[in-house]
């Protein structure tokens, strides 16, 4: 394979790139297993049928956002709040996509939007390294994302089925798994002392809004925005000094 400069090599979308992504995916599959199981279990606990749980994982394909939406799932389903919760829960994707623009720009039609659908945290990080290494095959993202998607649906279904096997009713300790998942994911997000005030602001606003508007997802949206604003103000204040 001849190596020419990245700027002049056109971006490709080939079977080889897809296979390269496929070969990079196994570690991602193992890491995702418990999250799919917890999501399926939680979906079942909130009254979603097996088909609905599978459909959600197939179409949304975003673990934390699905768990957040399920956390505020009531009957009747608050369609607007769960949609908004998913959007807020995935805001990070808005900053991630543009960094792979050299690949997406070169793709035409369905290839571009399908590849974007299969962008998750892990294969995004891998794709970034591919681009830095001068590799130009955008099918890598599809190849590394599709197996994760398949396993994600499968583990959601298994989680849902195991929940109905245990016949766990509401209040069963098994459902603490969803909250435990968030606690586990939250801890490594702590970046240092600069996060203290934003996190406190988020907690306070979220608590207040959850009292004012119980049974909705607005406290999550409000808390996330309040925390973001606090972080912004803190950085401004520090820079101004």
């Amino acid at each position: 394979m001849a190596h020419s400069s990245p700027a002049t090599t056109p971006v490709l979308f080939t079977r080889d790139g897809f296979m390269r992504g496929l070969r990079a995916s196994p570690p991602l599959l193992i890491g995702g297993l418990p999250f799919g199981l917890v999501t399926g279990l939680t979906a079942g606990a909130h009254g979603l049928s097996l088909l609905e749980a599978g459909l959600m994982s197939a179409l949304v394909f975003a673990g934390s956002a699905q768990l957040i939406a399920l956390g505020v799932w009531t009957a009747p389903v608050p369609v607007t709040t769960v949609s908004l919760a998913s959007l807020t829960g995935n805001l990070r994707f808005m900053l991630m996509g543009p960094l792979l623009a050299t690949w997406f720009d070169a793709l035409r039609g369905w290839r571009r939007w399908l590849t974007l659908f299969f962008m998750i945290d892990h294969n995004w990080a891998m794709a970034l390294k591919e681009i830095e290494a001068g590799r130009r095959d955008a099918a890598f993202l599809l190849g590394s994302g599709m197996p994760v998607w398949g396993v994600w649906i499968l583990t959601t279904l298994i989680g849902h089925l195991s929940g109905s096997l245990v016949a766990a009713g509401p209040g069963h300790p098994l459902f603490f798994a969803a909250l435990a998942t968030f606690i586990a994911l939250l801890a490594p997000m702590w970046r240092g002392r600069g996060d203290l005030l934003p996190w406190l602001a988020a907690a306070a606003v979220a608590l207040a809004v959850s009292r004012l508007l119980p049974g909705t997802a607005w406290h999550i949206v409000a808390g996330a925005l309040a925390g973001g604003l606090t972080g912004l103000l803190c950085e401004r204040a520090k820079a101004g000094r």
Partner: protein, 101 residues
């Protein structure tokens, strides 16, 4: 098992649209308009604060059982650095108290 309810399907489609809007919309928007630095700064705080906003009210809405589970999960994160073990130890702790009580 295989039934589909209208409102649930609608909610799933809404979630799918909201999620795809971030995956595709971010690329679409910010490859045309460079995000102002303050937007990037604000958004960089969103993931952590979002999780805090979910976890804190949910933990406080629980009882001693859930508080113990939270403590066990946090200690497990601290000791193992894993994001998977705390799910098991935290849930096991809550289950144990539930079974004993």
């Amino acid at each position: 098992m295989a039934q589909l309810h209208g409102p649930t399907v609608l909610a799933i489609l809404g979630m799918a649209a909201g999620t795809f809007a971030t995956r595709a919309g971010g690329y679409w928007l910010f490859s045309r308009v460079r995000p102002a630095p303050w937007v990037s700064t604000l958004l960089s705080y969103v993931p952590g604060c979002l999780f805090v906003s979910y976890v804190v009210p949910a933990v406080l809405a629980g009882g001693p059982k859930e508080w113990l589970g939270t403590a066990v999960a946090l200690i497990t994160v601290r000791l193992t650095g894993s994001v998977i073990w705390p799910i098991f130890t935290g849930t096991a702790a809550v289950w144990l108290v539930w079974a004993l009580g």
